[in-house]
């Protein structure tokens, strides 16, 4: 009995030592990155993180674990400003990333020029999701102002994604009528058809899909695909409008954090690898438009050609768009006051 107890003790000692040693060796090598992202990128990054970890280990011998944080784009940006230790952020709109510079100097002002394509390795656009058979015959933005059509879109004051929806509609009207006043009326008439104004995209999807309210749901293309695939195959159709906006969800390293943690090298590589062929195909698989034209072409049956404009073309950048349209006392507030 005493012998067996002794041997057990010895064994556990050896095990503890072994664990301690190997743990020490790993700790020297392994690195953990935190990617703070927004909601619908969950599936994409789950797959991408594995691909990147394999690539990085093959390249450098270092093991990398990427932890994810998902949430509304704006509240994620606020968490990083308030001290969430993100190595990289991959958010829904540049305005939220700009805030990391404007509010907390976490990144330089020219962050968006550091990576190709406005730091957006994958893009999307705004499309119209309708019920099977398109019973209200919705073909383009013009149909959304019809009196018999109910439109579902979240509140652009609280949802970053919904700001793209609003700007896409505004841009379309501007392009068609060439006149700000007409664009105002057009967007106002769309919001007059909105029966429920959810604070976030997830809630709006729920309203349209589960509650079956509304005839058309303005959505990001990738989320529209997810709704069609996951929530009800054959119950919805995607209508691609004639003109839309190029939704660029940008990525950046959070300089202040990576320099403090000494993780700049893997964090930088993590973002650059997003532009590689593997990641571009993964993006396409998860319904984001790859920025690499060759790979985009491989998915041409999935992504029809649309005339796409950027926020810079139409609105002179996000800071401007936010200031003019969405801040308190802005155009959207005037629209709401006029409708209600």
């Amino acid at each position: 009995m005493p012998r067996s107890r002794f041997s057990r003790l010895a064994l556990s000692g050896v095990t503890a030592l072994a664990l301690g040693l190997s743990g020490g060796a790993l700790a020297q090598q392994a690195v953990t990155l935190l990617n703070v992202s927004y909601d619908p990128t969950r599936e994409f990054y789950r797959e991408y993180n594995n691909a990147f970890a394999a690539h990085w280990e093959a390249e450098t011998g270092q093991r990398v674990t990427v932890r994810m944080s998902h949430g509304g784009s704006g509240s994620q940006a606020r968490s990083v400003i308030d001290g969430l230790d993100a190595d990289v952020v991959t958010l829904a709109l540049a305005y939220d990333v700009d805030a990391l510079h404007d509010r907390a100097q976490l990144i330089p002002e020219d962050w968006q020029t550091r990576l190709p394509q406005n730091s957006s390795p994958y893009t999307s656009t705004i499309v119209l999701l309708v019920r099977a058979g398109n019973p209200k015959n919705i073909r383009d933005w013009d149909d959304l102002v019809r009196k018999d059509v109910q439109v579902i879109t979240p509140n652009p004051k609280t949802s970053g994604g919904a700001r793209w929806n609003y700007l896409a509609a505004w841009g379309y009207a501007l392009e068609k009528y060439g006149d700000e006043a007409k664009a105002y009326e057009f967007v106002r008439d769309i919001y007059a058809n909105v029966p429920v104004l959810d604070p976030a995209a997830r809630g709006a999807t729920n309203t349209f899909v589960q509650r079956r309210i509304g005839d058309v749901f303005i959505a990001w293309e990738n989320e529209a695909f997810l709704s069609v695939e996951q929530l009800g195959r054959g119950q919805y159709e995607i209508v691609v409008p004639s003109v839309s906006i190029l939704a660029e969800p940008p990525v950046t390293v959070v300089d202040r954090n990576v320099d403090r943690k000494g993780t700049r090298e893997p964090a930088q590589a993590y973002l650059e690898f997003l532009y590689g062929e593997t990641a571009q195909r993964l993006a396409g698989k998860h319904y984001y438009r790859p920025s690499n034209p060759g790979i985009l072409a491989e998915f041409s049956d999935r992504f029809p050609e649309v005339k796409l404009h950027t926020v810079d073309d139409w609105f002179g950048g996000w800071r401007n768009a936010q200031e003019t349209h969405f801040n308190d006392g802005g155009v959207f507030d005037r629209i709401l006051a006029e409708i209600h």
Binding site: K157, T158, P195, L197, N206, R212, I213, Q322, D328, L336
Partner: protein, 277 residues
């Protein structure tokens, strides 16, 4: 014996416990409140007034305070009945029902919101029949009241229950023997004893409803000027990094809630004096 007399309290030291109480309240309560009052203090009076008196914000106060008040009143009446049934009667499944009362405490509010809207939407189990009656709950102000009633239910039940359990049945018997009818007994014997607990439950349910966000936003529809609650506007302000603006509206909510709770406490104190006579 003398030692026992000098130490009447189980927990030693008035000084230490009071000190701890103040420290604890300061840490948990006063510092966060102080922080957002500080945000508010950065604003000029004109900015503050503009932020809190905007037409859209005022409409949301009316909804938030109105719906919370109605919900708390509903809970006051029906919560008291639930408590009565749970204390005074024995029946099959009583334990289960007793446990169910706490469900709104435990359930994540977003889940509650989604569940409620699933039931009450015009396609839902309940909503489709209400629709026939011309009653729409989901995406109306009524929906806000329903959600707030749901989350406030346990407060009145749980504050009234123990008081009711301690209430001597002999008092009612005495009242009956002295010739009082049921209504008189209820009015003169039972209600006065329950009143402080009822008021506390009411105040808690009301306060909880004022701050509720998660469940309401799913069922409210959130249309500006109509079904938009004040906490949502605070979130909207924070979303554009307008922290002072968000804090300003929060301050108004806080002050109004504080005054109302103070009034309820005063009422409680007054009834306690009045009934102890």
């Amino acid at each position: 014996m003398t030692l026992a007399l000098r130490q009447p309290s189980v927990i030693p030291g008035f000084g230490i416990t009071l000190g701890f109480t103040l420290f604890y309240l300061g840490l948990i309560l006063l510092i966060p409140i102080g922080a957002f009052l500080l945000y508010t203090a950065q604003m000029s009076w004109a900015d503050f007034w503009q932020a809190v008196s905007h037409r859209q914000v005022v409409a949301s106060y009316k909804l938030s305070f109105g719906a919370s008040l109605i919900a708390a009143l509903l809970n006051l009446v029906f919560g008291a009945i639930v408590a009565w049934v749970l204390v005074r009667y024995r029946f099959f499944g009583k334990r289960v029902i007793d446990a169910l009362v706490d469900l709104p405490f435990a359930m994540p509010t977003a889940v509650a919101g989604i569940a409620l809207v699933t039931l009450y939407a015009s396609t839902g189990w309940v909503g489709q029949y209400l629709e026939i009656l011309g009653l729409r709950v989901a995406y109306t102000q009524l929906g806000v009241v329903v959600a707030l009633t749901y989350i406030g239910l346990p407060f009145v039940v749980r504050t009234v229950q123990p008081v009711l359990e301690d209430l001597d049945r002999e008092l009612e018997e005495a009242s009956a023997i002295l010739g009082a009818n049921r209504l008189t007994t209820l009015r003169r014997v039972i209600l006065p004893a329950l009143l402080p607990a009822l008021l506390t439950g009411f105040a808690l349910a009301f306060a909880r409803a004022l701050g509720e966000y998660g469940s309401v936003i799913f069922i409210a529809g959130n249309l500006p000027f109509r079904t938009e609650i004040t906490p949502l506007l605070i979130v909207a302000k924070a979303e554009q990094y307008d922290y002072p603006g968000a804090a300003a509206i929060g301050t108004v909510m806080l002050l109004a809630a504080f005054v109302l709770l103070l009034l309820i406490n005063a009422l409680q104190w007054w009834t306690a004096r009045y009934t102890r006579r």
